[in-house]
């Protein structure tokens, strides 16, 4: 069944958390694919399930309280959910790597940068320490850290945030993974550094032919980097499209709301927007999701049916999927 052209194929993924206040579905029935060398962006507000999706791909969802309870994750034809823990360890950091949001806290403070990369290399490659050390320095050079040999001997606290994120990228790519997951890789960085890091990730992705799953809440980042986009809301995929199609004609009111929240730069002479557009309300509690569309309580277009029935993902042509009863009207209303 697995399509060979797909690097990653996720089908009906379901990850739940068992908490004191009840069971909640952090990721509910999520399916998507990533091709070799492709960039897929997953977008949504905090708490929409995008980070849990990333952790599910790595099988690093903290258990307890979380657990993957359904679906399949297939990487180059291997079902990751069927692997035992030792086999999965051989995949992590080797065939799939991950870059995290917080470069300040994601590196071990008492280990030298070089040693942390060497560890990643030697976990998966049976090579002498000296050779691994050379690879580590080479990786630091690849992520454009000046004086890589000297930096390799330093500790994380001696590096700036941007440098640390470069080191994280070096570590993630050290074993040449086929898939890289970047969970908000630039959110914690200064704006000027953000662009550099994004450019670096994209350059290396192109150079190494890595598939990339980029998780972000920033549609600006999506427009610059991705080929395809998934919009998530309350644990579900509400829209999926190519970047062009999504920005040209979003089908889901939530996506439209996200786009409207991007502050526009006023042209000279025109008074600035008095107030930023926002989506009213907040993401609902995942423990008590409404029966119908989870976005309905915040949606200006909501009708009776939205509250009663969950809308299925419908294809609007060219692989543009949206889960909204009123998708046809979205474009006209806005």
């Amino acid at each position: 069944m697995t399509d060979k052209s797909h690097l990653l194929e996720v089908k009906n993924l379901k990850t739940v958390f068992f908490t004191n206040s009840g069971l909640f579905k952090a990721v509910d029935d999520l399916s998507f694919t990533v091709k070799r060398g492709e960039t897929l962006a997953i977008v949504g507000e905090s708490g929409c399930g995008k980070s849990v999706t990333a952790l599910s791909l790595m099988r690093l969802v903290p258990d307890p309280p979380g657990r993957i309870v359904g679906g399949s994750i297939s990487l180059e034809g291997t079902d990751l959910l069927a692997l035992d823990e030792a086999e999965m360890r051989a995949v992590r950091g080797n065939r799939i790597s991950m870059i995290f949001q917080e470069p300040m806290t994601s590196l071990n403070p008492v280990m030298r940068i070089g040693d942390q990369i060497v560890e990643a290399v030697r976990l998966h490659r049976n090579i002498p320490a000296k050779e691994a050390r050379n690879i580590a320095v080479e990786m630091l050079r690849l992520v454009r850290i000046p004086e890589p040999a000297r930096r390799a001997k330093e500790y994380p606290h001696q590096l700036s945030g941007g440098m640390r994120q470069r080191a994280m990228i070096a570590m993630a790519l050290a074993c040449r993974p086929v898939l890289l997951i970047a969970d908000e890789p630039t959110t914690a960085l200064d704006v000027t550094i953000q662009a550099q890091i994004l450019a670096l990730i994209l350059d290396l992705q192109k150079e190494l032919g890595t598939g990339l799953v980029l998780i972000t809440h920033d549609l600006g980042v999506v427009a610059q980097t991705a080929q395809r986009v998934i919009v998530m809301y309350a644990g579900r995929k509400v829209e999926e499209a190519s970047v062009e199609a999504l920005f040209a004609a979003p089908k889901h009111p939530y996506t439209r709301g996200l786009m409207a929240s991007i502050p526009a730069v006023p042209a000279s002479g025109v008074p600035a927007q008095a107030r930023l557009n926002e989506i009213p309300g907040t993401v609902p509690s995942l423990v008590r999701l409404p029966k119908g569309c989870a976005f309905a309580p915040r949606c200006k277009l909501a009708i009776k049916r939205c509250e009663a029935e969950y809308p299925p993902l419908a294809d609007w042509g060219g692989g543009h999927l949206a889960a909204c009863w009123r998708a046809a009207e979205v474009a006209e209303v806005a």
Binding site: R92, P109, H157
Partner: protein, 315 residues
């Protein structure tokens, strides 16, 4: 790093100076001196004899002179003479030190080699039955006074084997030596092992939540590598601090344990000397203990710099 070391050393000297004054004054505040005690036993007091003896021992002089006399002697290694045995105090103290040092070392070894691994296991298995069992054991370790634990061990060995472990001053083999010291060391080290375990556990729990632990897992590191290489190396700092502080408590525990097990170490000797107000022995011995404890804390500070690169480079 060098400045850090110098600063610590200076602080250490200031602390020791303060301690010496406290030791000296406390002993003088305690009512009665050796002369009072000797003459009280005799029942008849000729004030002239008493004054003579006080003069002979130098305890009739002003406090400041007495202090100077003592501390300058201590620094030269001249500890004076024991009032009781009239032998040089150094000769009385020195042969007893190895006994107590072995006991303390073994107790510390127990607490580190048992407390740290159990603390890690307890944290990793948080919420399981094993964790609860280990926590109950460690809590009992903290609640049992070491002298009572010692008595329990003695009673139990009499009940079970019909004899109690007797201190063997000249063990012939390593095994004998270990047997001689292991039981009392375990009695006094149980508490430190329990404390070490609890601190290791809570510190590990804190560290295991950190982002860099997730990073290590994402690299494909095994549980053992994550727990012992990544987590423990970060979690060890508070444990080192506690072990440093425990070194002082250990000596307190040894005083009673040596008495319970009838071991001729310095700790029991100190209690004896206090009873006789044997100033040269008490002052010098307590001062030596203070040096050991302060040095232990100095070593802890240095270990901090070894384990945490962020401290090493802040100068």
């Amino acid at each position: 790093m060098f400045a850090y070391l110098v600063r610590r050393l200076f602080l250490m000297l200031v602390t020791l100076f303060g301690i010496s004054i406290v030791i000296f004054l406390l002993l003088r505040i305690v009512p009665g001196n050796i002369v009072d005690i000797l003459f009280a036993a005799a029942g008849y007091v000729d004030p002239a004899d008493k004054a003579n003896l006080e003069k002979e021992l130098g305890i009739d002089q002003p406090l400041i002179v007495q202090y100077w006399h003592w501390i300058s002697g201590f620094l030269r290694g001249d500890f004076g003479y024991s009032y009781v045995s009239e032998k040089p105090a150094l000769q009385e103290i020195l042969p007893r030190i190895p006994i107590t040092a072995r006991l303390a070392g073994l107790a510390l070894l127990f607490s580190v080699s048992i407390g740290i691994p159990l603390g890690v296991i307890s944290a990793v298995k948080q919420g399981t039955r094993l964790d609860y069992a280990l926590r109950v054991v460690s809590l009992s370790g903290l609640s049992l006074p070491s002298f009572w634990l010692g008595l329990l061990i003695l009673t139990a060995s009499v009940a079970m084997f019909g004899q109690m472990p007797i201190f063997n001053p000249n063990p012939q083999t390593w095994l004998e030596a270990f047997a001689t010291y292991a039981v009392p060391a375990a009695a006094v080290g149980f508490r430190s092992a329990a404390l070490t375990m609890r601190i290791t556990r809570s510190s590990m729990l804190e560290v295991l939540r950190q982002d860099y632990i997730r990073t290590a897992r994402a690299k494909g590191a095994s549980d053992a590598a994550v727990n012992y290489q990544h987590a423990l190396k970060n979690a060890i700092l508070p444990v080192i601090t506690v072990i440093g502080i425990e070194a002082a408590f250990l000596i307190g525990g040894l005083i009673v344990t040596e008495t319970v097990f009838n071991i001729p170490g310095v700790a029991r000797f100190l209690v004896e000397a206090i009873r006789w107000r044997d100033y040269p022995i008490v002052q010098n011995l307590v001062m030596l203990i203070a040096v050991v404890v302060v040095s232990a804390n100095f070593i802890v500070d240095m270990l901090y710099a070894v384990f945490d690169p962020r401290i090493r480079y802040t100068d």
